[in-house]
């Protein structure tokens, strides 16, 4: 990594001596405990010291008399958590949006679900909850029996506000042919040019974080995996990996390789899906059909190795639940080889095809500095020259032992975002090939203790759409005390909201799909 010399922890320590308390090795590289107001100073010091400081997530906790806030930040070579607390009867804290604009959504989420008031980032109405949800009741607080809350009657349908001048508001969603998932975007246009995009999230909000508090750790694997039907293996790994960190168990080498194979198969099918879907959005249906035809053999491989096409619950605390038979390996390899042979054809379409270039080049351009400020992750960040890939930065499982390239483009447009995925398809095939060739022998699972001790941990992994973040707090009982998930689309959405403005309304679909949006993840 470029700035691997910056030692952010000692810089924070030297600049803010006596004011903050640093716990090394907790919740990432270090946890910085602050009292009210000082969290902003820590953020400022970090921003000054490292230009790559970006927000990952804000976790809200109910600590009894107080509400806890954890600001998870990533720098070029470290992962830092800043702790702050606010009293429950006056839950006010200063916003950090003026320092890091990418924190806006995270703050709104904590405000909606836990009732923290962020001074300087006023929330207007509910962010994830229904419009009918009563004011002043926050589902993530422990004393709230959220499933017994009585909703307000639906508001009368608002009269349409007359359009002023040339500005016209176009409502996309919640049911719309271009969206597979229900979500609403109010796009204001002046003629053909987009002037404003207002998202309304929460149509797929199922309250999974709260629900996981009333289920056991084992049941939760099945629950969190159902956050997303596309990157389900990543969610299962995120949960299991975090629990393993609290337990301080290490999984056997064979399990590490098998997990990598599963995660990469997940990435392969997800990227093929998106590359095809992008074709559909620009009216190139042949491309969509081709990609999805070639995705089916990968689905068969997923079924072969895990037992099911979509949900297989392969990941478990202590390893994986199924081994790959030696007799299956040749079949996996030939299938991947067939896909590899087709890649030059697809690559040439994505790089040279005139209609793709016309619809995607210079559409939705996001600069590198904006990508960092807004906290982009995954292919969206890498297409803007912001080289973050958790597999490289903080290798987990067997990724540290497997050679592969980190794909970075600098154009920052829709075209680059799709080409990052195109190249990653080949890298994924290489990774799986390598992992199968070097599969260690031995057990693929160990018996992990059932009882999780008191503790907390964070885990990051590179899902197909980018960095996926998990935080789990255990209170020593059979159920976790808090499970926080920050999904890649949640982080990437601000990119679309920013870059769509000033462009033609016809560019909205390709720009939007280049994020590879997944709202079941975003809303949870």
């Amino acid at each position: 990594m470029s700035n691997s010399k910056i030692d952010i922890v000692s810089i924070v320590e030297s600049k803010l001596k006596d004011k903050v308390q640093i716990q090394l090795g907790q919740l990432g590289n270090a946890a910085v405990n602050t009292s009210n107001g000082l969290h902003r100073d820590v953020v400022k010091v970090m921003l000054e010291a490292d230009e790559k400081t970006a927000i990952v997530a804000i976790t809200g906790l109910d600590l009894g008399a107080n509400l806890g806030l954890l600001y998870h930040l990533r720098t070029s070579n470290a992962f830092i958590t800043i702790r702050a607390e606010v009293p429950k009867d006056n839950p006010k804290i200063q916003t950090i949006v003026d320092l890091i604009p990418g924190a806006a959504f995270s703050e709104l989420e904590v405000a909606d679900l836990l009732g923290v008031v962020f001074e300087g980032n006023p929330s207007s109405g509910h962010f994830l909850l229904s419009e009918q949800w009563p004011e002043g009741i926050f589902p993530l607080r422990k004393d709230v029996k959220a499933n017994e809350v009585k909703l307000n009657p639906p508001p009368p349908e608002g009269a349409r506000t007359p359009e002023i001048g040339r500005q016209v508001k176009i409502i996309i969603g919640p049911q719309h042919p271009a969206l597979l998932e229900p979500e609403k975007f109010a796009v204001t246009v002046d003629g053909e040019i987009v002037t404003k995009v207002e998202p309304r999230l929460g149509y797929v909000h199922r309250g999974i974080e709260k629900a996981s508090e009333s289920r056991t750790y084992l049941q939760d694997v099945y629950l969190v995996e159902r956050i997303c039907g596309i990157c389900n293996a990543c969610h299962a790994y995120g949960f299991v990996g975090t629990v393993e960190k609290i337990l301080k168990t290490d999984v056997p080498p064979r399990a590490k390789y098998l997990r990598v194979v599963t995660l990469e198969l997940n990435r392969l099918h997800s990227h093929l899906l998106t590359l095809g879907h992008a074709g559909l959005e620009i009216g190139y249906e042949t491309l969509f059909q081709y990609f999805w035809r070639d995705r089916e053999p990968i689905m068969d491989l997923i079924e072969l190795t895990s037992g099911n096409r979509v949900y297989s619950s392969l990941m478990t605390v202590g390893g994986v639940r199924r081994d790959i038979r030696d007799t299956d390996i040749p079949r996996i390899k030939t299938t991947l080889e067939e896909l590899r042979k087709k890649l030059p054809f697809y690559r040439q379409i994505y790089t040279n095809e005139a209609s793709i270039k016309a619809r995607m080049q210079n559409v939705g351009v996001l600069s590198r500095s904006d990508a960092i400020k807004l906290g982009m992750v995954g292919p969206v960040a890498r297409a803007s020259g912001y080289d973050i890939d958790v597999r490289k930065d903080e290798p987990y499982e067997a990724y540290g032992e497997i050679p592969f390239k980190e794909i970075v483009y600098t154009e920052g447009d829709t075209w680059a975002r799709m080409n990052v995925r195109m190249d990653e398809v080949e890298e994924s095939i290489n990774i799986i090939d390598y992992a199968l060739d070097h599969l260690p022998t031995g057990p693929f699972r160990i018996d992990a203790p059932r009882n999780v001790p008191i503790g907390e941990a964070v885990c990051r992994l590179e899902a197909p759409r980018g960095e996926l973040f998990y935080y789990i707090k255990s209170n020593g009982t059979a159920n976790p005390d808090r499970v926080k998930v920050r999904t890649p689309t949640f982080a990437n959405l601000p990119s679309f909201l920013k870059t769509a403005i000033g462009e033609s309304i016809a560019d909205v679909p390709p720009n939007f799909v280049s994020l590879d949006p997944c709202f079941s993840c975003t809303d949870r």
């Binding site: 909850l129 589902p139 597979l180 229900p182 929460g202 909000h205 709260k210 099945y222 596309i230 997944c518």
Partner: protein
């Protein structure tokens, strides 16, 4: 006229897909149905973006508080006769998410459901099977009777080949029985 419309509906049902709070698992399997391996279009099924032109509503996912109202509105916008297929464990009953604070439950809590396809997610083959069974169920009994009546007339003069025809005559009611069973 009704026969023609029924024939058209059975031969080419236009379906609308609505995700009322799904995890994407079921949705992706529905999209996979349209692609070369499963190719649901060979049954004349066409995905239709507007509720006003749709015959069948495919709903995936548990119904969230925010979607309940919208789902009802979409259902009301569809012309009669309309059919609703609940795809996946969540749409059938709420699935793993049943009892969560923002979740109303299965689709039948909000709108009437014609057919349930369980599974998490159901395999594309299962969805295909469900759709075909629904199409068979759409065949009104009148048409079936006419079909049954016709073959005997033709077969009467052909006395020499009863063995060939009798099994086929018997076979038909058997198929129809399974069809009606399936409907329930």
């Amino acid at each position: 006229m009704t026969n023609t419309t029924t024939w058209a509906r059975v031969k080419s049902p236009w379906v609308l897909h609505f995700n009322s709070g799904a995890c994407n698992g079921c949705d992706i399997e529905i999209v996979a149905l349209l692609t070369p391996k499963y190719d649901v279009e060979r049954f004349g099924v066409k995905l239709e973006p507007s509720p006003r032109h749709a015959d069948v509503l495919l709903v995936t996912g548990c119904v969230t508080q925010q979607c309940a109202e919208r789902l009802k509105r979409i259902y009301d916008q569809m012309p009669q006769p309309k059919f609703v297929v609940a795809i996946g464990a969540c749409a059938c009953s709420g699935g793993v998410f049943d009892g969560n604070y923002n979740v109303v439950g299965g689709v039948d809590k909000v709108i009437p459901v014609t057919a349930y396809i369980p599974g998490c997610p159901p395999r594309p083959e299962a969805i295909l099977d469900g759709v075909v069974k629904l199409l068979n169920a759409l065949n009104p009994p009148k048409q079936k009777k006419q079909k049954q009546l016709e073959p005997p007339k033709e077969t009467k003069p052909v006395v020499s080949e009863p063995e060939v025809i009798v099994p086929s005559q018997e076979a038909k009611p058997v198929i129809e029985e399974t069809k009606t069973n399936v409907k329930q």
